[in-house]
């Protein structure tokens, strides 16, 4: 969007509000002038005041001000809405750029190694190493494709999956085991103080997506040599709390709520300090809501790690 287009709404807003304020002022001014004139006429002709419309000046001013004020508020609301849309558009644009990069990168790697294999005769050992890379790239591509498909489904509310009552601790443990290759350079521990099974009615596929998103984030946004995540299961009143505490780069207070917004990413679009797609936490939030729960983020600030808490309410199951 060119600069002139961005300036337009602000200028329109200013002009409209100024015009309305001026017209309010003029209404009141002219009204006062007219009623003054009327008063003069009444006096001069010694008319009975009650035969002429009794001006209720203050009521008039009040009503006019309220109406005009209301119009101004509506205009401002429309303006704010317009700005939000602009921002969403910009973020969507960034998302498309980022996503294109996320897709192009593994494809570039695959192509590079395949062309290399064609060109040179490599030892079996080298071949296996690079084939391993290519498989990782294929997995990365698959992951990205799944993510975008899941997003479409979850948003379109066409996600068809039955809930199953299962032990979440065991489910989480299995997930970590099945995806060891992704988490091999990090330390993820499950803490279940009550030592009892944690049964909950959960949509398995969605829970896995949520786990994947939270854990890959914890590893990605981490500058320590070894990312660690502590997953703990707690009970609080009538809810189940699942906490994910990491030793990552932390989140600033102003971003704690924003990160769950669609396409929102911390960092500048130009320099890729925001890697990834910006939809991971948005999905996590959606998944929590599908289960009638919520997800929250807390952090000590820059460099102090973060804690993501999934709050799942217990209903009489």
């Amino acid at each position: 969007m060119s600069r002139s287009k961005i300036f337009y709404p602000i200028i329109i807003l200013i002009f409209s509000v100024a015009a309305l304020a001026t017209s309010l002022f003029l209404y009141i001014y002219w009204y006062l002038a007219v009623s003054e004139g009327l008063n003069t006429v009444v006096k001069n002709f010694k008319l009975d005041k009650r035969q002429v419309l009794e001006p209720q000046t203050w009521i008039v001013i009040l009503v006019l001000s309220i109406l005009v004020g209301f119009i101004i508020i509506c205009i401002i609301i429309i303006f704010v809405y317009n700005q939000k849309n602009l921002r969403l558009y910009r973020m969507q644009h960034n998302f498309i750029n980022n996503f294109t990069h996320e897709l192009k990168t593994p494809v570039t790697s695959l192509k590079l190694y395949l062309e290399t294999f064609l060109k040179y005769q490599l030892s079996r050992e080298e071949q296996e190493k690079y084939i391993g890379y290519m498989l990782q790239d294929a997995a990365r591509l698959t992951g990205n494709i799944s993510r975008i498909l899941n997003l479409a489904q979850i948003e379109g509310k066409s996600y068809r999956e039955e809930s199953v009552i299962t032990d979440l601790v065991e489910l989480t443990r299995l997930f970590l085991q099945n995806n060891q290759h992704l988490f091999q350079d990090s330390e993820i521990t499950i803490h279940n103080h009550s030592e009892k099974r944690v049964l909950y009615s959960i949509k398995l596929g969605l829970y896995e997506i949520l786990l994947m998103n939270l854990l890959t984030n914890a590893i990605k946004y981490n500058r320590s040599g070894k990312p660690t995540v502590d997953i703990s299961f707690e009970h609080e009143r009538s809810s189940l709390l699942i906490k994910f505490a990491d030793n990552g780069i932390g989140i600033e207070k102003t971003n704690l709520k924003k990160i769950f917004k669609k396409f929102y990413q911390i960092g500048q679009p130009e320099n890729m300090s925001a890697k990834g797609t910006g939809i991971g936490l948005y999905m996590a939030d959606n998944i929590a809501r599908i289960h009638k729960g919520r997800i929250r983020a807390e952090s000590g600030g820059d460099g102090k790690g973060s804690v993501f808490t999934l709050i799942l309410p217990y209903f009489s199951q």
Partner: protein
């Protein structure tokens, strides 16, 4: 004089600045097979460090890097060395990105995914050209798009000798000061934020250290302004940064 006085491949150093490990390793593998010596830098800052210490003959640069972005790195290198061949590999496809890179002096631009043979041939070509240039004007001072002098007000910057003639005195300029002056001159009339100045002029990133920029500006004003308190050339722009304006240019 003409003819292939190109360096032997074994003596040619190529620096690959690319944060995606698989791609970086794949590039190193293939370039090594061509006989070149290859080093990988996984982010911009390491890349700049390696460029300074290892002095490669060619740089393969990815644009989407964590920390400092590729374009700032390109600009930083170009401030000091206009000859060094730089080939950009990028997933970015917008024509603006390409044009911007060429504006800043990139020698070649390949989009990802790219054809391996094409990449290798372009690298070879760039290296060949550099060796021709070097043998052609051995003995002449390297030409710079800045020319030999730059005048503003009563000041003259001599790029050859790294000296500034101002207000009846002669000042020897440090390498960093020359870099910064070049950056301002190349962007005269355009506002530059402190962050950008830091990224391009110093190759730094991060929220700290913008005071370094402020200190340099204070120094420049002392050198070049008739009245440092009312700067004509190095002006401040509130909450944006600084701008260098020269009405005679």
């Amino acid at each position: 004089m003409t003819g292939n006085s190109m360096k032997k491949p074994e003596d040619t150093r190529i620096l690959v600045i690319e944060d995606e490990r698989h791609i970086a390793e794949g590039l190193k593998l293939n370039l090594s097979f061509q006989g070149y010596m290859v080093k990988i830098a996984l982010d911009g800052i390491t890349g700049l460090q390696e460029w300074k210490s290892w002095q490669p003959d060619l740089i393969v640069l990815d644009l989407m890097l964590p920390g400092i972005d590729g374009v700032s790195i390109l600009r930083n290198i170009r401030l000091e060395n206009e000859r060094l061949p730089i080939l950009v590999l990028s997933a970015k496809t917008a024509p603006d990105d390409k044009v911007q890179c060429f504006n800043y002096g990139v020698d070649d631009y390949l989009q990802k995914p790219f054809n391996l043979d094409e990449f290798l041939l372009r690298v070879e070509r760039l290296l060949k050209r550099v060796s021709w240039n070097e043998s052609a004007d051995r003995g002449y001072d390297s030409e710079s798009s800045f020319g030999e002098y730059y005048d503003f007000g009563n000041n003259r910057i001599d790029f050859n000798l790294s000296v500034a003639h101002c207000k009846n005195s002669k000042i020897n300029l440090t390498e960093q000061e020359i870099k910064l002056i070049k950056l301002f001159i190349a962007n005269r009339g355009k506002p530059l934020s402190r962050r950008k100045l830091l990224e391009i002029g110093w190759g730094y990133t991060g929220k700290t250290e913008t005071r370094t920029v402020d200190n340099f500006i204070v120094r420049f004003r002392k050198y070049f302004e008739d009245n440092p308190k009312k700067p004509k050339f190095f002006k401040s722009l509130r909450s944006i940064g600084y701008i260098f304006s020269n009405d005679e240019d």
